[in-house]
């Protein structure tokens, strides 16, 4: 095994932070988030579930708000929609490294890649960020109380979806090179060869996951309406999820015009939980009831998304379980599908 000491890791990250944007788990007030850091000293203590960022790395590829275009008006009155226009696409620039990526977050990229990259047409904004980002993973020594990554095909020490995987041992961080991108990032770094076995992470009780085809027969169950009664229709579950990707698109005025550019077209995170989400102009809404919307969320993750794009849209990270203020628990939902 090749290892880096904690000090060596810190020095290496410091050097990387000079060349590229380095995102790492860091404390923002009392909350840990993947945020840009200038030095390794800003990185939050790494182990334990309490130090897992509240949001996944999704925001590094699919940010909460993203500018798609700048819209310039070449003729016509300042406000109002009339006139002639010039459009400029605003693709993201700049390389970034995300450090401390938990395997569940990395696996979320697999679901998002299937949608944004591998299903035509590819999304150029996501694609650029994906191309320009290197992921340095960090294995979890143990699964958290609401984690079930192993049950959905992942695992707390699964290196599959990162470029480099680090595993903490008492002899330092074991470094696994997973991709060429990872190998390139390591270039020039001296790693020590040591004897020893890769530690394996402590696992939880598995959570039974229903087969994809088990879902349709349960579509009309009263269970959905009953489970949704306490739902607040907020957006927490969608926003903390590594795979949820619904977005809204709109034009908005720039805070101040830059030459002829006066509007931007932006997209930002949205959630199917709200009752206006699916309402058509004219008022018709196929999902007016909370139960229908709750049902849509879980069917989307475990049935619709895999039907459309391939992977199941859940990595077992358990964030939705931890964050839901009214204890809507995805493992309870799954249990109904398995036993019901």
């Amino acid at each position: 095994m090749r290892v880096l000491s904690r000090a060596e890791l810190g020095a290496w990250l410091d050097a990387l932070a000079v060349e590229k944007a380095l995102l790492a788990p860091t404390e923002v007030e009392s909350v840990v988030l993947y945020r840009p850091v200038q030095s390794s000293a800003e990185i939050a203590p790494l182990q334990g579930n309490a130090s897992r960022p509240v949001l996944s790395i999704k925001e590094a590829f699919f940010p909460p708000t993203e500018r798609l275009l700048l819209i310039g008006k070449t003729t016509g009155p300042g406000n109002g929609t009339g006139g002639q226009f010039r459009l400029r696409e605003t693709l993201p620039e700049g390389e970034q490294i995300v450090f401390g990526v938990r395997p569940c977050d990395a696996r979320g990229m697999r679901a998002l890649d299937a949608l944004f990259l591998h299903t035509q047409p590819a999304d150029p904004y996501y694609a650029r960020r994906r191309e320009n980002t290197t992921l340095i993973g960090l294995a979890c020594a143990e699964m958290g109380p609401s984690c079930f990554c192993k049950s959905v095909g992942g695992g707390p020490d699964d290196p599959a979806d990162v470029d480099l995987m680090l595993t903490e041992t008492d002899k330092g961080y074991v470094v696994q090179t997973v991709t060429e991108k990872g190998r390139t990032l390591l270039a020039g770094l001296e790693l020590r060869e040591i004897e020893g076995e890769m530690p394996r992470s402590a696992l939880n009780e598995p959570v039974p996951i229903p087969d994809m085809l088990a879902w349709p027969p349960h579509f009309q169950d009263a269970f959905w309406e009953q489970s949704s009664e306490r739902c607040l229709s907020c957006r927490i579950c969608a926003y903390v999820c590594p795979t949820c990707r619904c977005f809204a698109v709109r034009d908005e005025a720039l805070p101040s015009s830059q030459g002829e550019e006066c509007y931007e077209r932006i997209r930002c995170w949205d959630s199917c939980a709200g009752d206006a989400y699916r309402r058509i102009a004219g008022g018709h809404n196929p999902r007016p009831e909370k139960g229908q919307r709750l049902r849509n969320r879980y069917f989307c993750k475990f049935y619709y998304y895999p039907q459309q794009y391939g992977p199941v849209a859940c990595t077992g990270c358990g964030r939705c379980i931890e964050a839901c203020p009214v204890n809507i628990d995805i493992t309870e939902i799954l249990a109904h599908l398995v036993t019901g």
């Binding site: 923002v28 909350v31 988030l33 708000t65 927490i236 926003y239 930002c268 964050a323 204890n327 493992t331």
Partner: protein, 301 residues
């Protein structure tokens, strides 16, 4: 009889006699966590619990539950389990005509305070040592007896806590010691990690507009982006809309996934309202001064 048993008994009676269609209470959910329960049948009342993790303000479900879905529909009746703070919300909702008093059978519980971590962590064992800390709103609470109820569960404490013996609001003191520039910096830093998940708004009983101003697609009072300017507008605007209406249950702060001290903003404005009008929200079913038209010379609603 324990509070839980008394609540179950009352719920059973109300459902059996058809006085209510539904009892809104608390149950133990997954992982030992308390969550809101909607009980429709007498045989289900065994699900109802009462303990120091019953943090949710169940009155937030009342407007939607009691609103008629079709014109001319017979008004619905529900029962709701409330703590003292929650009961103040009932007064505000009544004052704002969200439902009529006869539609709600209020089961008011004399509360011993709710613990930190309620709703998110396993309910602590009774007699656990050290005893879990109470939420700060409970530490500051000066009246644990619900103000409005049809059935009271528990006896009022022999002595009313003296205001001077209660811990102050250290967070509010710190805020008030800041200069305006420092305060602005503080709040902008807090809002920076806001996601506009709207959990604070959705948890709040008083935020019950059919379409929130800040989500209107047509008028676009505020942009839809999750950016600094929009978030500031949302939080400050919402605080103004709650001034004179917020009853201080602090659920907004509990539900926030980013630990933003949302309730602090509401408490600041509540204090301003009290200083200006001598008014505290929810003590009676009377509208707050900021939503009331006062004649010249009047300072109280």
């Amino acid at each position: 009889m324990t509070h839980a048993a008394a609540i179950r008994g009352k719920a059973r009676e109300l459902l059996q006699t058809g006085q209510v269609e539904c009892v809104l209470g608390y149950e133990t959910g997954s992982r030992g966590r308390v969550r809101p329960a909607f009980i429709y049948r007498p045989e289900e009342v065994e699900r109802l619990v009462w303990n120091q993790a019953c943090t949710h303000n169940l009155t937030t479900y009342l407007p939607a539950k009691l609103r008629p879905t079709k014109p001319g529909q017979t008004p619905r009746h529900v029962a709701v389990v409330v703590k003292a703070c929650d009961s103040r919300a009932i007064n505000v909702l009544l004052a704002e005509n969200q439902f009529t008093r006869d539609q709600v059978h209020v089961i008011g519980v004399v509360c011993d305070g709710i613990v930190e971590g309620a709703g998110f962590e396993r309910i602590p064992e009774s007699g656990a040592a050290p005893p879990p800390a109470l939420q700060r709103r409970c530490q500051r609470c000066d009246d644990r007896v619900p103000l409005v109820y049809d059935t009271r569960i528990g006896e009022p404490p022999a002595e009313h806590p003296l205001a001077e013996n209660l811990p102050g609001d250290a967070e509010l003191d710190r805020l008030e010691a800041m200069t305006p520039a420092e305060r602005a910096g503080f709040w902008l830093a807090q809002f920076d990690r806001c996601l506009r998940c709207y959990a604070c708004r959705q948890a709040c009983p008083m935020c019950n507009c059919p379409t929130c101003l800040y989500e209107r697609d047509d008028s676009l009072w505020v942009g839809m982006g999750i950016g600094s300017s929009e978030k500031r507008t949302f939080h400050l605007g919402r605080a103004y809309h709650l001034a004179g209406r917020c009853i201080g249950c602090d659920e907004c702060e509990r539900v926030c996934p980013m630990n933003i001290p949302i309730s602090l903003l509401n408490r600041k404005l509540a204090k301003e309202i009290e200083l200006a009008f001598g008014y505290r929200a929810g003590l009676a079913p009377v509208p707050g001064p900021l939503v009331t038209v006062l004649e010249s010379g009047e300072v109280k609603p």
